[in-house]
């Protein structure tokens, strides 16, 4: 047993349960996006309705039940 507890977050309106070594946003994004987070990724992220700039992802601590929105450009008028 690793002793790492599973944590629940709300990502884009749905529950997302995962084990994280470190409770930082960057690690959660990596897990959620299946390691696909790159500098070129055109996404933006809000935690509990507050924008978290890309440069702050590695330092932003996240907590149980945090509400996370991951958005990207889409067709629109």
């Amino acid at each position: 047993m690793s002793g790492i507890k599973k944590k629940k977050f709300k990502i884009n309106g749905k529950d997302f349960i995962c084990s994280l070594n470190e409770p930082f946003l960057y690690d959660l994004l990596k897990t959620f996006l299946k390691e696909k987070v790159t500098e070129n990724h055109k996404i933006a992220v809000a935690v509990n309705n507050v924008l978290v700039e890309k440069k702050k992802w590695k330092k932003k601590k996240i907590f149980y039940d945090d509400k996370i929105e991951i958005v990207t450009p889409f067709f629109g008028g």
């Binding site: 933006a44 309705n49 958005v71 450009p73 629109g76 008028g77």
Partner: protein, 257 residues
């Protein structure tokens, strides 16, 4: 001839037609339509990432366009401001087309919430393109607030009802000296000609092209309508008269008999 370029946020644009990117039958038709419209600025939305859809918007759109992200679907100032911030973060632009609607049926802009959100976004250094109702006083107030462009509707979004209150548009153009675009309600190229003849700086349209039978042809028709209306405005249209004013002189006519 004097240059008639559109100026927005210090940049010059040859086209006065801003195109939306929604509702097109497929990506190929969208890209061809954008090309035939001659547009340089396109709008887009900010939506939740869908991991099951590998085709990202940006990967499918030609990179030559200037992006104008919108806050479509927002009902509150809080939602709109967060959407604008997310758009700025992901697209690295401080341009935002601010849409704040009041209801789901008519999708009419909420003027109170909109005005308040504009104030906050301008403070946050956004260049706001404010989608609003065709109330001349509201348009003037939004311009005075410092909006980059004010964008009144002519009828509800996607309705294709065209210009419903031409007099209001005339008053708006008289009261506002900055960039005024018509944003919603356009159905036909003739609507665009009318708007441009009134001296508006441009039009933003989407449904009238995307939902037409032939979007590629229709977008070219809209391009020509913008050019035609603008040239007409710049050339100085003649005044209306309630009496006939014959073009051929009576002088030299053979005698009445």
């Amino acid at each position: 001839m004097e240059s008639d370029e559109l100026k927005l946020d210090g940049e010059k644009f040859k086209s006065r037609l801003i195109m939306g990117t929604a509702l097109f039958p497929n990506i190929d038709i969208l890209n061809k339509s954008l090309k035939s419209s001659g547009t340089e600025i396109i709008t887009l939305a900010i939506r939740r990432l869908n991991l099951t859809n590998n085709d990202s918007f940006l990967a499918q759109i030609e990179k030559k366009y200037k992006f104008l992200p919108n806050t479509a679907g927002c009902f509150t100032k809080k939602e709109a401001i967060l959407t604008a911030e997310l758009a700025r973060e992901t697209l690295e632009t401080h341009w935002i087309k601010l849409e704040l609607i009041s209801d789901k049926e008519m999708l009419l802009p909420d003027p109170i919430e909109l005005f308040d959100a504009c104030k906050d976004l301008i403070k946050k250094k956004f260049k706001v393109f404010a989608y609003c109702s065709d109330d001349p006083v509201l348009c003037k107030r939004l311009e005075d607030l410092g909006c980059e462009a004010v964008m009144p509707l002519v009828s509800p979004i996607g309705s294709a009802l065209g210009v419903r209150n031409e007099h209001n548009l005339e008053i708006i153009r008289k009261m506002c000296s900055g960039n005024i675009f018509v944003d919603a309600g356009i159905g036909k190229p003739s609507d665009v000609v009318k708007i441009m003849e009134l001296g508006f700086d441009g039009v933003l349209l989407n449904s009238s092209v995307a939902r037409s039978l032939n979007p590629v042809e229709m977008s070219e028709a809209m391009k020509l309508a913008v050019l035609s209306g603008r040239k007409g405005f710049n050339s100085g249209t003649i005044e209306k008269s309630k009496l006939a004013l014959g073009s051929t002189s009576f002088k030299g006519k053979i005698s009445n008999f």
